[in-house]
């Protein structure tokens, strides 16, 4: 139990930690069941062979790689947004940062699973790590997949630290007001925090340092993910625009995920007095900015391809804008640009509801965007005789759905264990 009497701040922000409402249990159970079903499907895929998925020759990558890129993109919610806001000392960041940092850790954990799920022989995935072995074999550091392994493991460890550091003062305070297993958990995690000046000084320096570092790491991670594609000779993959295009897309979908998560938290945990319309207003403006940046990149990519008129690229381009993938393409443009642009650029229309709606359509649109990046290029390889169309199977769809359920489940559990808004940030006067 957590003691929630005392001042108003603690009463509101700690209340969600105690007890379970019926709706909470229902959501948790549903998320758990969908997630468990997905795990079961993965087990089936391992036993039967990866052929139970829809991937084929020439589209050897499918939904799993789409999900990989999508979730790594979502993970940019926390790091970039909270790090930028922290470094620029934006006052309105206080109720936003932890929700964002938690998204990062969970989205990254989910995203990092997909390269393993998609392996033909996932039980030997550790061969990609440079560990000492009796055959003196190194992995191939020329492969962009090795850069992925390096970048993502760095990012995951960095973002866990980045989530944990600002939790420490809250954990110590929680430990003082709780009993039973919570007392033991919080005491352990608080690392002997007493709140002395020296400790405050250290943790603030560490947070600043991590914010700076994680920014650089986040940009590099999504650039490396883009290079998985850009380093290949496949038409329209082999492009210099992919690095910045992916980073912009990642921040775009990250903000969208944050907006949606905040909107749900606001309603479900009754935090209307902390998550104010001004927060949604500000994030809505950021979302609009990123939407414009996204459409700029999309035009730049497609216009240069069309004008260049090289046969191999034009066959992919045609497949995208007027071929079998065209409905996806135009749906993506609607979700990522047309609708958010109208809802967010007209001042009268901008509200908590419309910002949330834009967040949802951008999430859908960015998932489709990742699909549009992975599949059309593979469907139309250099030799026309080898062309082929991809469609997913129920296994891929189940595993995809289960990762969204896993995200919900992790978030629900996190909200029960830790305050989703940092209490100390409200009380605290900087010691720096």
């Amino acid at each position: 139990m957590v003691e929630t009497r005392g001042d108003g701040l603690r009463a509101t922000l700690w209340r969600p930690l105690n007890g379970f409402s019926g709706r909470y249990l229902l959501a948790l159970t549903a998320a758990f069941l969908v997630g468990a079903w997905g795990l079961g499907c993965w087990g089936y895929q391992i036993v039967r062979g990866i052929g139970v998925a829809g991937i084929r020759r020439p589209t050897m990558w499918g939904f799993y790689l789409v999900n990989f890129v999508f979730w790594i993109g979502i993970s940019h919610a926390g790091t970039l947004i909270s790090a930028i806001l922290r470094l620029t000392d934006a006052g309105w960041r206080k109720p936003v940062t932890r929700a964002a940092e938690a998204i990062t850790v969970f989205a990254l954990s989910i995203g990092a699973m997909f390269p393993i799920i998609h392996l033909g022989r996932p039980w030997i995935f550790y061969w990609l790590f440079p560990y000492p072995n009796s055959r003196l074999l190194w992995p191939n550091f020329r492969s962009p997949l090795l850069w992925d392994v390096t970048a993502i493991s760095t990012y995951l460890s960095g973002s866990v630290i980045y989530l944990y550091l600002p939790l420490i003062p809250d954990l110590a305070e929680l430990a003082q007001h709780s009993t039973g297993w919570r007392l033991r958990l919080y005491t352990l995690l608080a690392l002997g925090w007493t709140g002395s000046d020296r400790q405050w000084h250290a943790v603030e320096r560490a947070m600043k340092l991590m914010a700076g570092t994680i920014l650089a790491v986040a940009v590099s991670v999504h650039t490396v993910v883009a290079w998985d594609f850009a380093m290949a000779v496949a038409p329209m993959w082999h492009s210099t625009i992919y690095g910045p295009y992916f980073v912009a897309g990642a921040i775009f979908s990250g903000i969208a995920a944050l907006v949606v998560a905040m909107s749900i938290i606001r309603r479900a945990l009754h935090l209307e007095e902390y998550l104010l319309p001004v927060h949604f207003e500000n994030l809505g403006k950021l979302l609009l900015l990123m939407s414009l940046l996204w459409v700029y990149f999309t035009v730049a990519e497609n216009l240069t391809t069309w004008y260049g008129n090289s046969p191999a690229e034009m066959s992919v381009f045609g497949e995208r804008v007027r071929g079998r993938y065209a409905p996806c393409f135009w749906f993506m443009v609607f979700c990522n640009f047309v609708l958010p642009f109208v809802l967010l650029s007209v001042k009268r229309l901008r509200s908590v509801a419309t910002v949330t709606i834009s967040g949802v359509t951008v999430l859908v649109g960015m998932w489709v965007e990742r699909f549009m990046i992975v599949l059309p290029s593979l469907s139309r390889p250099h030799l026309a005789a080898a062309a082929g169309f991809y469609s997913p199977t129920w296994v891929e769809i189940s595993i995809t759905a289960s990762t969204f359920a896993a995200m919900v489940m992790f978030y629900l559990i996190f909200c029960k264990l830790f305050p989703i808004i940092a209490v100390w940030e409200y009380k605290h006067v900087s010691h720096g």
Binding site: R121, W127, H382
Partner: protein, 228 residues
């Protein structure tokens, strides 16, 4: 480097009979796919015959082009493998190490010729074909990539025989299954390091071109056709 294996395929001779495809299946223990899997693009043919149509019906010409691993000198499949399951051996062949492959399929995506094949399931052969496996060739498990090897088992045997008799491998002594079975004699295999070999002479003749040459992959398969 003692040998540098290469192939020449005369497109003016090829009749598109696909005897090479069948011979390759038998020699290299290629699994058989059922109709359902074949429709999904999962049939295994280390060598396939692409068809190109010129003109409009009824005034139409069909051109056949057998496509197999081009054994590129600058192979795009090689640098992208994270575990060195595919690499360049001393004789210029792109070698696939089945035991090392973890199945990222990046090499397959990065092959501009789409000649890499993935084992989506454990391989299967309808009876009695399961009894006719070639003992010189490994059967590949589920989850690994495979592709044309230029019948490396035949190359190794010819080298051993030559070594035992203390001589060089003679021109024409090694014949991959596809070359051996071509009734039109459209295919020639040999050592590109030997300027006198038949394949060297064909490769330097004015009729030789290479597939997707502008990508800079430097294939060791040469296609012969008359100039336009």
């Amino acid at each position: 480097m003692e040998h540098r294996w290469g192939m020449a395929i005369d497109l003016d001779r090829c009749t598109g009979c696909e005897a090479c495809v069948v011979a390759c299946h038998a020699e290299n223990n290629l699994p058989l796919s059922d109709a359902d899997q074949a429709e999904k693009g999962r049939a295994f043919h280390w060598i396939r015959v692409d068809r190109y149509y010129e003109g409009e019906f009824p005034d139409i010409r069909v051109k056949y082009m057998p496509v197999l691993c081009q054994q590129c000198d600058e192979a795009p499949c090689e640098p992208v493998c994270p575990v060195y399951a595919t690499y360049h051996n001393a004789e210029g062949l792109n070698v696939q190490v089945y035991n090392r492959c973890v199945g990222t399929r990046y090499c397959g995506n990065n092959c501009p010729y789409s000649v890499r094949f993935f084992n989506w399931f454990e391989p299967e052969w309808p009876e009695p074909l399961h009894l006719q496996h070639n003992p010189d060739v490994a059967v590949r498990p589920s989850g690994v990539m495979e592709k044309c090897t230029f019948c490396i088992q035949r190359i190794q045997r010819a080298k051993r025989d030559a070594q035992a008799e203390n001589r060089r491998v003679a021109d024409g002594e090694v014949q991959p299954a596809c070359v051996q079975s071509c009734p039109a004699e459209a295919m020639t295999f040999g050592d590109l390091n030997d300027p006198e070999s038949k394949v060297s002479r064909l490769a330097t003749s004015g009729r030789a071109t290479r597939l997707l040459e502008d990508l800079g992959t430097k294939p060791k398969v040469f296609y012969l056709q008359r100039g336009k």
